[in-house]
Subunit: 224 residues, 2 copies
């Protein structure tokens, strides 16, 4: 390989005239495989061979489509299926608590757990790759956060909670604490955890919840 010139092909190639056309049918499988490996081993632990093996593809196929490992990961995160809740499919039960609880579906929890593992795998990269950071934010954290913001805003609009509630922080609360719990504390994030968060923190913070002053007699919790 001493010479690098002499490109012998090169008429222009925009004509899929014969043979199978370039269809990129396998892309979704490869991207999904990349996300799986990412969740399991983290960015640095992930190798192109792992991704290829899991997608039952060849390494060459990966490089035909993406110029580098970094690009593949960015694409995988960016194309991640935005799960759960679009603006139009949010629960609307009439009460804030009803809406928040309705967001806790088994599928949503499971999906969220995978996203958190992916996020963990991206962590060290995110802090030094702005593009990846932006993509991860848009794909993983923003959908849920904005859903919560909408739910809270509705509660304000219908007069259920104070108009001065700290919506921005409250919308991020459950996600923040869930990530912290699963990544740092390594405890399970399940339905009970979210319910506890709603009833023990979010609703009280917004003027709805439990922690009533002990002077109240009606709520006779059998003391501590």
């Amino acid at each position: 390989m001493t010479l690098d010139a002499i490109p012998l092909e090169e008429t222009h190639e925009e004509t899929p005239k014969l043979g199978r056309k370039r269809d990129h049918t396998r892309d979704p499988d490869i991207l999904d495989a990349a996300l799986d490996v990412l969740a399991e081993t983290g960015y640095d632990g992930m190798t192109m061979e792992m991704v290829a093996a899991r997608a039952k593809a060849g390494k060459a196929t990966l490089y035909r489509r993406w110029p580098s490992k970094g690009e593949l990961v960015i694409d995988a995160v960016a194309c991640m299926k935005r799960g759960d809740f679009d603006r139009d499919h949010l629960p609307d039960t009439g009460t804030l608590r009803g809406d928040l609880v309705a967001m806790i579906k088994p599928h949503a929890i499971e999906d969220g757990a995978r996203k958190m593992r992916i996020m963990a795998g991206l962590m060290s990269m995110i802090s030094r790759n702005p593009e990846l950071a932006e993509v991860a934010r848009a794909a993983i954290v923003e959908p849920r956060a904005s859903a919560n913001r909408i739910l809270l805003q509705r509660a304000i609009d219908r007069g259920e909670i104070s108009a001065h509630s700290d919506i921005d922080n409250l919308a991020l609360l459950s996600q923040s604490m869930a990530i912290y719990r699963v990544l740092v504390l390594q405890k399970p994030v399940n339905r009970d955890f979210f319910i506890q968060l709603i009833d023990g923190v979010v609703l009280p913070a917004v003027g709805l919840g439990r922690p009533l002053p002990p002077v109240d007699g009606s709520n006779s919790a059998p003391d501590t």
Copy 2:
């Protein structure tokens, strides 16, 4: 390696007979260098040569003292100087808000930011190395969390807040949201952020500072 806490005084063999005795004088420098590199590049990006260079030591010196990169990191995190607040040096201002605000010192913020960067660098490792996870929890997370728990419990004891407050989650709230903010959102975690968290979420959740109409930033004084 023994993950038993605090190997301060070592019981290593008593043979300081001749020449310079094995003093391990450089250990703190090396461990601190390791933490710096960890915070900057993450576990996988960190190389033994970086650590050696920053500590102005030789790679051989590192391997004389620690058998592997993994052990060095675990030791570095375990020996991390527990900063800020011991049980005996907690603020005690008489009000929950006063105590919480008193926890926000410039030094504490700066120290916390470094710890978060270290935590980010450990993330992907933590999820598959239980020993590291335990050490990181004990060194980075637990001190602050237990300080918050104590402050909240005091407020309960003096009748300032409801005895049914969700202390466990509230104690983790500011940390969770700070980590999320700095690692995921990549926004600055400063004094204003913590104040907003206290006045906008924690105190309301506990029945104190209701969200006040005027948005004047000086204070949202809890009651009175």
